[in-house]
Amino acid sequence: MRLLRFVARRLLQVVPVLLGVVVVTFVLVRVLPGDPIRTILGPNATDADAAAARARFGLDKPMWQQFLDYLKGLATGDFGTSIQSGTSVGSELALRVGPTLELVVLSVSLALLIAVVLGVWSARRADRFGDHSVRILALVGNSMPEFWLGLVLILVGYSALGWFPAPSGRVDPDTNLTPLTGADLLDAILTGNGPAFTSALSHLALPVATLAIVVVAPLLRSVRASALEVLRSEAYLAATTHGLRPRTLLRGYLLRPTLVRLPALAALVFGTAIGSTVLIEYVYSWQGFGQWALRGLLYRDYPVVQASVLLIALGYVIVFLIADVVHAVLDPRVRI
């Protein structure tokens, strides 16, 4: 199938990029000052202890050897062993990715939904009061530091109003949710766990709102601009002058051409949102990927840093690939 071939070709193209990321990360973490081994040993360890530990993680080998081992591991899906925890990075990763993805995907989806609805609404009222207020509000949201907004929302939503649960986790453990994917909402649906679903949803509300508010502006701007362009295009004008019904106009002539340019930007926003989660996870005690990666970095947990950078890069690349595919589906002019 053509689409599959396209995906395959694109995946091949990203291989050098990922390889580049792998090499850069590998070298970078080792060039950074700081000793990962000393952080796990505590202050009183002897040099012999350190050497033993170093050997345990293969850090005594020459760098090229370490790199080859790392590559070999990667080829078999082995990300190595965390220096801090001594467990396999792959299994830690599996636990951490779900919650973060859940957060980011929901936030970006929410932002997209808001952006499309308000963006089209705004464009149709271009340069009236409603349009101006929507745009200014979005800009204000976009201008807030996410960690500050998070703090404010906690104070309001949890402390003052008490509408949302304590920001200390993702789902009430008493609901006995069986983790499958790590994304609680999804797991709750998959296992048909109603209380867990409600609980996960209430825990998600504030962080998702925070992230969505912060990222909605560029999406909204883009949708509005595209919609405006479509509304002013000859094609739309032609459809209007031919007296088509408003519903047909909206669905057939406005929405799809408006959305055509959205996927690429959405992918970019998705990338930014992944970056933002580090801060949001911290504020909301959301034990996700960002916190894990940051901790790995602070402790120079080489395999963790390598795996997290590679994963982020991979995620980035995949999101862009998805965007391209969606773009191709939406826009018949795109050749794939």
Binding site: L237, G243, R333
Partner: protein, 706 residues
């Protein structure tokens, strides 16, 4: 009697902050069912505003006066519901740029069925079947398959056909076509126009045909209305307005277009103004040779019944020429009794006779009344020499490249002007780029002043390049937006290392030669009009005293009267004996005006070349004949035997033999198998082995669609 459409004293004033524009000022016109009315004028004249007013789609902030009555009801006073029915069902618009006017993300079939279900209340299945029929009716081959195509998959001609089907799919009483053939090749233009005549004749619709080009629409119109600066200056039956234009503007408009028969363009000065308020005087007065004080003090009313004009000094006595010009050419060809002018015979008209068999070539008076450009003395040294050049625009991995030029050889001498003509995609522009060293030949050589252009590198190449200059199609686009006019003109001198002071002097000189105000030097491109920008472009070409100037469609982006002005300038330059010139155009008429030799390109090959009179007067190649046959003309145009090609260029399949084989009415198996080479026939050369047989074939009537 109520007209289908009647516009009564319509004025539209558009208020912009800081500047108002009187887009229309007291326009009166009407269209009846079954009638094709042409609305002509230059851009800014208000043609599109008329079209928009008819569907009540005026820009916000527009103030209107007067009425647009459709079947008696005033469109401008309709409520939303009535408008919704009126739009599309009452009057439907065909847009100028069909690709832009088709929604890019919906199949054309869906777009058509959307109209059918809305206005004809069909269910989906019926709509689809009707859509197929409509497609077929507008001449789309494989209509069922095309229903599922997206607009970008269609060629320009096809897209225009779809656009027409969309408009007719609304089943409107009135069809409005806004410049429907702009940008289409001549062979296609006739086809498309035929559709509108058809809509009027078979369905009894009224058709309002908007165009800047009188010649091209004249053949299908019953009446024409000429707009100038938002006012109607003349309206009446085609026969009257085109034969005996009364208004000086109409005459100027007609005279500005060179004719393929050889009549050169005659320019009038100035440009159409954008009026801030409805004119109190004759808006054309400042440009009019006949203007008197009365014209500048009072606005002439539109007078006359049937044939009306708004002029105090109507020029009677017929003749599509400006006062003082030689009398118009006699109408060529016997048996042309039609009312619609020259082209009319080519189209079947209701009640009209089919086209008479054309006279044998050479038998009819070719009748170029204006003298051909004086044959210059034997041309000088060779300034440009192309030998068997091939250009392949590669895809990056070698396969599937586009073969833009296939073995072109050409020689240009100093003092000579060579015209290059052909349809879009024939390789004209590639040839220009090749001569300027912008595109490297895949094989073959290009010598400028005897030096192999593509073997040079670095400074030597840059110096050599200044010996050949290009005048671009897009006058404003060819000027760097952030550089001043002085910068632009002086650039070749800068490259040659001419000191700043001398540079300024030479720039000023050349500017004066172009009749441009020295104050222009500090302006930026966006502050220039198209005509001014093209003069700057020519000045830039001229400033370094090059050995070769290539004009790549220098007038096609300009308004008609401005076009004539630029052609004047170019014609003057072309006479310079120290320099060779190449004039590239899709428009045969302009080439005929001042070229010594003509080269006809088709799909990257030269199919015919020779002295201009030889090629135009006695074309050999079927393709040249076809081009000449379809060229719009008011003066009688091409009088030789007409040849029509079978298909659109885009639909023609590539063949191993003669590239035209798929479209040529005379093609045989041998044509399809054997590549054709230029062979001398008289003073010219043509790449067709059947040249000697063609006159006979034409007589046999074999040129009916193959």
């Amino acid at each position: 009697m109520t007209h289908l459409l009647s516009i009564e004293d319509l004025s539209v004033l558009i208020r912009r902050p800081g500047r108002d524009v009187a887009a229309l000022s007291g326009v009166d016109l009407h269209v009846d069912a079954g009638e094709v009315v042409g609305l002509v004028g230059e851009s800014g004249g208000g043609k599109s505003m008329v079209a928009r007013a008819i569907v009540a789609l005026l820009p916000g902030g527009a103030r209107t006066r007067g009425a647009v009555r459709f079947e008696g009801a005033d469109v401008l006073a309709m409520d939303e519901a009535a408008l919704a029915t009126h739009r599309g069902h009452g009057a439907a618009l065909c847009f100028q740029n069909p690709r832009g006017a088709l929604s890019p993300t919906r199949t054309v079939g869906r777009q058509l069925t959307d109209r059918l279900t809305t206005h004809q209340r069909m269910d989906k299945a019926a709509a689809r079947e009707t859509a197929r029929q409509l497609f077929e009716a507008v001449g789309i081959r494989n209509p069922a398959r095309r229903l599922d195509a997206y607009p970008h998959e269609l060629s320009g001609g096809m897209a225009q056909r779809v656009m027409i089907s969309l408009a007719t799919g609304c089943a409107p009483g009135l069809l409005i076509a806004d410049e429907p053939t702009t940008g289409l090749d001549v062979t296609l233009t006739r086809e498309i126009l035929r559709q509108f005549r058809h809509a009027a004749d078979t369905d009894g619709r009224g058709v309002l045909l908007i165009s800047h080009d009188l010649a091209s629409i004249a053949s299908v119109c019953d009446r024409v209305v000429v707009l100038y600066a938002g006012t109607v200056v003349e309206s009446g039956p085609v026969a009257k307005v085109l034969r005996e234009p009364a208004h000086p503007y109409t005459r100027a408009l007609l005279a500005s277009v060179p004719d393929v028969s050889g009549r050169p363009a005659r320019a009038i000065g100035g440009a159409m103004p954008l009026l801030p308020s409805p004119p109190a005087a004759c808006p054309f007065a400042p440009r009019c040779a006949h203007a008197t004080e009365r014209c500048t003090a009072q606005r002439p009313p539109l007078t006359g019944d049937g044939w009306a004009y708004a002029c105090f000094h109507p020029q009677t006595g017929g003749g599509a020429a400006a006062p003082g010009a030689p009398p118009p050419p006699p109408r060529g060809g016997a048996g042309r009794g039609g009312v619609g002018g020259v082209g009319a015979d080519a189209l079947p008209r209701p009640g009209g006779a089919p086209a008479c068999p054309p006279p044998p070539p050479g038998a009819a008076p070719a009748a170029p009344v204006t003298a051909p450009p004086p044959q210059r003395t034997a041309a000088g040294r060779v300034v440009m020499e192309i030998e068997d050049a091939h250009v392949v625009y590669g895809s990056r991995f070698g396969s599937g490249g586009h073969h833009a030029l296939r073995g072109v050889s050409l020689e240009i001498r100093a003092g000579e002007t060579v015209g290059v003509v052909g349809e879009s995609g024939c390789g004209k522009s590639t040839l220009a780029r090749l001569m300027l060293g912008l595109t490297a030949p895949s094989s073959g050589t290009v010598r400028l002043d005897g030096i192999d252009l593509h073997a040079q590198r670095g400074r030597k190449l840059r110096r050599l390049r200044t010996r050949a200059r290009l005048v671009f199609q897009d006058p404003v686009g060819s000027l760097s937006p952030r550089r001043t006019v002085a910068d632009a003109i002086g650039e070749p001198l800068r490259a040659l290392g001419v000191p700043a002071a001398e540079r300024a002097e030479r720039v000023a000189q050349v500017l004066a030669r172009m009749n441009l105000d020295p104050a222009m030097l500090r302006r930026h491109p966006h502050e220039l009009s198209g005509g001014q920008a093209q003069r700057v472009g020519i000045a830039r070409a001229l400033v370094g005293d090059p050995d070769l100037i290539v004009f790549d469609e220098p007038t096609s982006a300009l308004d008609v009267t401005v076009q004539a002005q630029i052609l004047d300038v170019i014609a003057e330059l072309a006479g310079d004996a120290s320099r060779g010139s190449v004039f590239i155009s899709h428009d045969l008429a302009t080439v005929r005006g001042f070229c010594d030799r003509v080269v006809v390109l088709y799909l990257g090959r030269i199919v015919e070349q020779g002295p201009v009179e030889e090629v135009f007067g006695n074309p050999r190649h079927p393709y040249t004949r076809a081009l000449l046959s379809s060229a719009p003309s008011l003066d009688g145009g091409y009088t030789g035997a007409r040849v029509e090609l079978a298909k659109d260029l885009e639909e023609a399949d590539a063949a191993t033999g003669c590239p035209l084989a798929a479209r040529c009415p005379f093609a045989t198996d041998e044509c399809r198998a054997e590549p054709q080479h230029l062979t001398p026939y008289g003073a010219a050369e043509a790449a067709c082995w059947r040249v000697p047989q063609i006159p006979a074939l034409i007589r046999e009537g074999a040129h009916t669609r193959a």
